[in-house]
Structures are given as C-alpha cells and as structure tokens.
C-alpha cells in the first residue's frame, strides 16, 4: 500500500540533498545555517516516525533557533542570460510539465480510491489526494528532465535556489499546526470561548450575531485556522444563543460563521501557508505584504457576512 511514508522518504532525500548542496555553496555567507536547517528537516522526514516525540520536539526547537538567530542565508544564483531565448524556443510547450501535477492529482483523487491489488488497497484510502499529488510531481519532474535534457543535479540546484528564498517560512505552516495541538491540549479554546460569553454583550439577536461573526474572525486570526475557532465559538455563542434562544437557522448561522472565520484567516500571519509563504515565494520586501493586500477585501467581507447572517438566519 502506498501511503504518506513514500512521500516522506522522497522529501527526506530531497532535503538531504539541499543540506549537502548548502554545505558546498561557497556563495552563501551563512551556508552552515542552511545545512543544519535542511539537514534537520530531512532527519524529521526520514526518521521522525521512529524517533521519540520529545526528540521530534527538540528537532523543531533546534530549527527555530537556527531561524530565530538569523543563521540562514542565500547563495548567488548561477548567472543565466538566455531565459528569453529558451522561452521563445519552447513556446507554450513549457506549460505542459506545469499542468501535469494538478491533472494527475485530480485524476488520481477521482480514480484511485477503490483500486485494489491482491485484496490490498493500492493507495492508502485516507491519503489519496496527497499520494496523487506526489505522483503528479514526480511524473512532471521526470517529463521536464527528459524534455529539457537537464540533469537531475540541475533540477535539485534550481529547487534549492527556490527553497533558500522561502527559507524558514517553508516550515512555518507545519510548525503552526503543531502549536495548534499544544493549544488544544491546554484547552486554550475553551478559555477564550468562556471569556467571550462572559464579556461580550449578547443581549439580543443582533448583538449575538455580531459577537459570533466578529468572534469567529478574531479567534481565527489568533489560532491561524478557522477549523480551530469554529467548534469553540459555535458552542459558546451560536448554539446556545443565536440558534437556541433566538431561533436562528443552524445551517445558515454555521455556514456564514465559518466564512467569517475565513476573513480572519486572510488577516493573520498565523495562517502562514496562505499569507507568509507566498510573501517569501514572491520575494516581497514586506513579510506582511500579502496580508495588507487582502485586508480591505477581508474587512468588507466580514462586515457583509455579519449583515448576511443577521438578515438571513432569523428569516428561514
């Protein structure tokens, strides 16, 4: 059965190559920081499942220290002046390898779920999408290597160039998910939910809707994830008051409440994979550039959601 294990080995090997590449990259003034960081990431992928949990925690702490003390740098890219000529030579054929991963992910997700070989599922049924994504990436990379007659060494060198520009931000989404687990274990959500019901004015249908909608956005911004905020805020405000006391429609309240949470996601650096990672990928000078760009949309939409919830929930 093909599961996440295969992908972890692939990722572990790729980051090991990044670590070795960093160590030999004399153009990077802080190459040892990169070596340690990508080496630890590789170790976590290759051995994480067998290491004690405390050791996995220490790996994350060590990576955070390397990043926090600003020990990571970037090498000089290999100078290249013929991109425009190459682009003209390939034309639109360049888009073929770029389209393979989404197409394979999609087809794999739709078709691989029931496939069995000798009574065993071919792909772990719970991980079909991720395994398909991995297969799509591997296939597309192979096609690109053949098409461009490039050596794998060039591919990993170019990959490392991109990874170094993302740098520690590439680990942030996974690290924030881990922080979410610590928050959950310490029941941070319940405490905040309790505070919300104690301190917010909830004495009418409108006040309850406003408190729930804004509370979802704010709590999502703190946790970085609407899924963490939803059960807490809904149990604290929506179920007992909007739905229970004032008779709001549960489907409308919850559907729009979740979307109010998504407005919070657009506003917070805690939602790193949507906000901080793209700022790094696009090499924006301002780490919060993407958040600033989407803040007007998010705030207007939050207001719109609150109005919509009040206008619809008590009517249907």
């Amino acid at each position: 059965m093909i599961g996440l294990g295969v992908l972890y080995v692939l990722a572990g090997l790729l980051f090991a190559i990044f670590a070795v590449g960093s160590a030999t990259d004399r153009t990077n003034p802080r190459r040892w920081g990169n070596t340690i960081f990508w080496g630890l990431f590789s170790l976590s992928f290759l051995a994480g499942s067998w290491l004690p949990d405390v050791v996995n925690g220490l790996i994350l702490v060590a990576m955070a220290l390397v990043a926090g003390f600003n020990l990571m740098g970037k090498g000089e890219p290999v100078p290249q002046t013929d991109r425009a000529e190459r682009a003209a030579r390939w034309g639109n054929r360049l888009f073929i390898p770029a389209l393979i991963p989404p197409i394979v992910t999609l087809t794999g997700t739709l078709t691989l779920k029931g496939v069995e070989i000798g009574g065993q599922p071919l792909v772990d049924p719970k991980q079909v999408t991720l395994v398909s994504l991995g297969a799509g990436i591997v296939l597309a990379t192979a096609v690109a290597l053949v098409m461009f007659r490039a050596s794998p060494a060039v591919a990993v060198r170019e990959g490392r160039r991109l990874m170094d520009s993302v740098s520690w931000a590439g680990l942030l989404p996974q690290a924030l998910a881990a922080l979410g687990a610590v928050f959950a274990a310490a029941q941070v959500g319940d405490v905040i939910g309790g505070l919300a019901t104690t301190w917010l004015p909830l004495n009418g249908p409108l006040a309850a809707v406003i408190a729930y909608s804004l509370g979802m956005a704010l709590f999502t911004a703190i946790m970085g994830n609407a899924f963490a905020a939803f059960p807490v805020m809904t149990a604290a405000i929506a179920l007992p008051l909007i739905i229970g006391k004032f008779g709001g429609d549960p489907a409308i309240v919850c559907a729009i409440g979740m979307l109010s949470g998504f407005c919070g996601t657009l506003l917070t650096p805690m939602a790193a994979n949507f906000n901080i990672v793209p700022a790094a990928l696009l090499e924006l000078p301002d780490r919060n550039g993407v958040i600033k760009a989407q803040a007007p949309t998010a705030l207007l939409l939050l207001l719109a959601n609150t109005v919509l919830m009040y206008a619809l929930a008590y009517r249907f």
Binding site: L130, Q174, P278, A279
Partner: protein, 233 residues
C-alpha cells in the same frame, strides 16, 4: 486562564517582529508551562511539564509533516523557470493588448473560485500557480500599463496576485459539498443533535461567494485605475 499567556506570546511576538518559528516554539512552551500554574508548584513539576510539552509539540510536528510535502514541487518549478516559464507567461500577456493587471487577476479570481466550488482546490496555489505564472503575468500587464512601474507598485501587484488566489480559494471551496469545512460543520452540529445536509450548508456559502467576487473584483479593477494614474504622472 494562565494558558492565555501563550496567546499573548504570539500576539506580542508578531508585534515586535520576532522570527515566527521562534514565536511558535516559545508560545508552545509558555502555554504548556502556564497550564501547570497552581499553588504548590515545584521546579521538578515544571521540568516534567516542559518535557511533556515538548513531546506534545514534537508528536504534532511529526504528524503534520504532510503539510510540507508541497515543497517536493520546487525542483520542477525551478527547472521550468530556468527554461523561461515566467518569460513565456509574460510574453503571452504582452501579446494580448486588452490585458490589464486588474482584468487578468479578475479572470483568475473567477476561475479559482469556480474550480474551487467544484472541489478542484488543487488547481491553484502559491508555489504551483502564483509564483511561476500568475504573478509574472500580472507584473507584465502592469509594465505595459506603466512602463516606469515603481518597485512599490510592482510589489503591490505581486501581493494582490497572491491575495487573489486566497480569496478565490476561501470563498469558492465552501460551495463544494464534500470540502473539509462543510464536513466539520456537519459533524459538529450532528454531535449537538442537529442534523443538516451538506447541501443545505454549501447553498448558504453562495451569497458570501458572490459578495467576495464583487468586492475583490472591484478592488482589482480599481487597481487598473491607480496604475493608469501613476503612469500619467
């Protein structure tokens, strides 16, 4: 109540621009230790608590490795960029005389929202689509609109390209009945004795989806006007 100290570390940490990875680790440790605050606390208990917190953090870190699988795509993107993918995307846009940054991003918004509403959320994304294709296209269109594009405007255009991917995804995916958030709502309500069908939930995501398209779409078209004003100066 003391566990909120961890949340405070997050808020203050981001405010004073500490490295976010460091914030995560500090906040986790502070939360784990703050949960132990009670009369009769000894250093030995604190030490044991710190180790327990590290274990919880480490286990969740290990269990969430799948999130970082996306980076496997970087060698492919790097290869394609080396062969001129960004340049090709720019050429395509420059050939279309009517293409403006705002219109281009508006089309991407509609496509991203539409495909997400059909459950095809993997058709976009920042490493796969925005960096190699959408951002260079938006930049190229902006350069046509304003040949002396300032760095500030260039970065704003790039940031809006990323923002458009997010807005399209967030306010499209909830229309699809089998997406994680819809299933979470259904499961949560069921646990509280309320039965709703996924379709009832996804239908009520449509009004917000339309408003998201109108609000963000208007902002994108206003960007064109701002670029034009800047070019005229």
């Amino acid at each position: 109540m003391w566990v909120l100290l961890g949340v405070a570390v997050v808020v203050v940490g981001f405010a004073i621009r500490l490295n976010p990875l460091l914030i995560v680790v500090l906040a986790a440790l502070v939360t784990g230790l703050a949960a132990l605050i009670a009369p009769g606390l000894t250093p030995a208990v604190l030490l044991a608590g710190a180790i327990d917190t590290l274990a919880v953090l480490g286990k969740a870190f290990k269990d969430n490795r799948y999130i970082s699988i996306t980076w496997l795509i970087l060698p492919l993107i790097g290869l394609l960029e080396r062969e001129g993918l960004q340049e090709r995307a720019k050429t395509l846009i420059q050939k279309l005389r009517s293409a403006t940054t705002g219109r281009l991003l508006l089309i991407y918004l509609v496509v991203r929202q539409g495909t997400s509403a059909l459950g095809l959320t993997s058709l976009g994304g920042h490493p796969q689509m925005v960096r190699p294709l959408i951002a260079p296209m938006a930049e190229a269109a902006a350069e046509t609109q304003d040949p002396d594009l300032s760095d500030a405007s260039r970065n704003k255009v790039k940031a809006l390209a990323a923002a458009t991917d997010n807005v399209g995804l967030f306010f499209g995916e909830d229309i699809f009945i089998a997406i994680a958030s819809i299933l979470l709502i259904k499961g949560f309500l069921e646990a509280n004795g309320i039965i709703v069908q996924p379709l009832e939930l996804s239908v009520w995501a449509i009004p917000t989806a339309i408003l998201a398209l109108l609000i963000h779409g208007t902002r994108l078209l206003l960007l064109d006007r701002a670029l034009k004003r800047e070019a005229g100066r």
